[in-house]
């Protein structure tokens, strides 16, 4: 009786999730195991070639290394800047905190292409930075700021920073103030209180922020393309290129290598930070 009603409610969303999420991804994996074909979407024979190619070819490995490297740098910067910001926001009185959260949330609602365009406008040859430098007589020729890995890092870092800040701020704001007070009553200085009490208790926020930033970095095709140009391609760019070249099995394999990176990183973070052990530390 109650179960029937539950299944009735569950059927439409479950159908959507299965038919247009689970099934396509599984199908993609299935295709990645096939040989390429010039005329069809994919060939008839099964092969692991696409995967072994990626893992064996120095070209692909270099791309993977560059992808992970850039993601790591972005992650580090987001953490380094995001944590203090989150701390600041978490300490604000309720009303102002809500406003700050909304201000952090708002940029995330603006499409990434718009935000990337802002950085293009800043960094391009006749962009804001170069024009300002020239007007201030600091340079003669425009600097090549765009189409470099650094441009990708800077742009993506600012685009993804709010995710990190909001994640950590939510966790910090929910922390019972009394934990810190107890530590200070036991003789811990503010620095040690932070290190031994606040920081560990904020690991759930750090974990979710880190995962979000890393995963979004892997997927950020538009930003990477606009700011990195043809010479700073990352793994996701290869996926796109292969799709437009109708190399479906290869594109699929590369997509799953991307997914594997994401999963590996998730497992790493969960094992390192073990956010589960601090659940329930809130008020």
């Amino acid at each position: 009786m109650k179960s029937a009603w539950t299944w009735f409610l569950l059927a439409p969303p479950l159908a959507l999730a299965l038919a247009f999420f689970v099934v396509p991804v599984a199908y993609l994996f299935w295709v990645s195991l096939h040989a390429a074909s010039p005329s069809e979407l994919y060939g008839a024979s099964l092969t692991l070639r696409h995967y072994t190619d990626v893992l064996g070819d120095p070209f692909y490995l270099a791309i993977v290394r560059r992808t992970v490297g850039i993601a790591a740098v972005i992650l580090g910067l987001c953490l380094a800047i995001g944590y203090p910001v989150a701390y600041f926001v978490a300490l604000l009185p309720v009303r102002r905190r809500m406003l700050a959260m909304l201000l952090l949330l708002f940029p995330l609602m603006v499409s990434n292409v718009v935000r990337a365009y802002g950085w293009v406008a800043l960094l391009e040859r006749r962009g804001v930075v170069n024009t300002a430098l020239r007007d201030l007589r600091l340079t003669d020729a425009p600097l090549e700021l765009l189409y470099t890995p650094s441009a990708v890092v800077v742009a993506l870092m600012t685009i993804l920073l709010p995710y990190m800040a909001i994640s950590i701020a939510n966790t910090l704001a929910a922390l019972d103030r009394r934990y810190e007070e107890a530590a200070q009553a036991l003789g811990a200085s503010p620095a040690r209180t932070f290190l031994h009490v606040t920081l560990p208790l904020s690991t759930p926020g750090i974990a979710s922020g880190t995962l979000l930033v890393f995963l979004l970095t892997l997927s950020a095709y538009v930003t990477i393309t606009l700011l990195g140009g043809p010479r700073s391609k990352l793994l996701v760019s290869l996926v796109y290129d292969n799709v437009t070249a109708f190399q479906w099995p290869r594109a699929a394999a590369l997509a799953f290598v991307l997914l594997a990176l994401a999963l590996a990183f998730t497992a790493l973070i969960l094992a390192l930070l073990r956010p589960g052990r601090v659940q329930g530390a809130g008020r």
């Binding site: 969303p13 600041f88 952090l104």
Partner: protein
């Protein structure tokens, strides 16, 4: 906070200022550029002009991309929120392994790399022959459903379970309990879920990248194409500003209705 500012709090304040500058400046640049009277960006701007907005609405492809984005967002947000609400109501009181698994499934699109979803759906659509708009709509429903699911789940779980039982004890069957007791109490969660699904769809890139086609493009993809093939043009700044403006209006309206707390808590 009492007492003199400590080294820690100064550091935090500086970091916050730097962060906000880095985050907001690029967006501000785009908006200011949109009002430039010239062909290029200048700071400070010599004057304000609406010419690029006029140009934006004059260009057929821009106009239709904007219209499509709005239609797509309205439709997908509505469907996604309805489905997300159904799922949340079904799972609100259901614990255990099955319930946990289903919850993870419905929340998965939030963390799953949408670029892979885009590729996978394009492959599927090519295999079965799916029309472009329908395919795009379904993709955005998948991407938007977790938002409604999450907010309604939170609202439903916060309800006293006795309320639904009280409805039943007074003779209301499951459907009437849903309509007369549950829905009136969770509608803010439904509304804020809809808002997020709309905003996400309106700015979505990764699935639209693969699933749009000739004549059927969304505004973000149109902007991206312009940037890739025609370089930086100020009409793009106008297009971007229109996108931003729509979002600001929507958030302001919903905030009036459900309050800031609901919107920020939803994240």
């Amino acid at each position: 906070m009492t007492g003199a500012p400590t080294a820690g709090s100064m550091l935090r304040g500086v970091a916050t200022i730097v962060a906000f500058a880095l985050i907001v400046v690029p967006i501000l640049i785009v908006v200011v550029a949109a009002f430039s009277p010239n062909d290029y960006f200048q700071f400070p701007p010599p004057g304000l002009s609406m010419r690029w907005f006029v140009e934006f609405f004059r260009l057929d492809n821009m106009r239709s991309a904007f219209a499509l984005s709005v239609e797509l967002a309205l439709a997908s947000a509505t469907i996604a929120t309805i489905l997300g609400t159904l799922a949340a109501l079904a799972l609100a009181r259901r614990g255990g392994a099955a319930g946990g698994l289903l919850q993870s499934l419905f929340l998965a699109p939030l963390v799953f790399p949408t670029i892979i979803l885009g590729v996978a759906l394009l492959l599927l659509y090519k295999t079965i022959g799916m029309p472009v708009f329908a395919g795009l709509l379904l993709a955005h429903c998948v991407v938007g459903m977790p938002y409604g699911f999450r907010t309604v789940l939170a609202s439903a779980q916060a309800l006293d379970p006795a309320l639904e039982e009280a409805g039943q004890s007074l003779g209301a069957g499951p459907l009437r309990t849903l309509v007369l007791v549950t829905l009136p109490l969770i509608w803010p969660g439904v509304l804020s879920g809809w808002l997020f699904a709309f905003i996400v769809s309106f700015g979505e890139l990764n699935t639209a990248l693969f699933l749009t086609g000739p004549g059927v493009t969304t505004l973000p993809i149109e902007i991206f194409s312009y940037l890739q093939f025609q370089g930086s043009q100020l009409v793009i700044a106008a297009a971007s500003s229109v996108q931003i403006a729509l979002i600001v209006i929507l958030v302001a309206v919903i905030e009036r209705i459900v309050g800031i707390a609901r919107i920020t808590r939803a994240r």
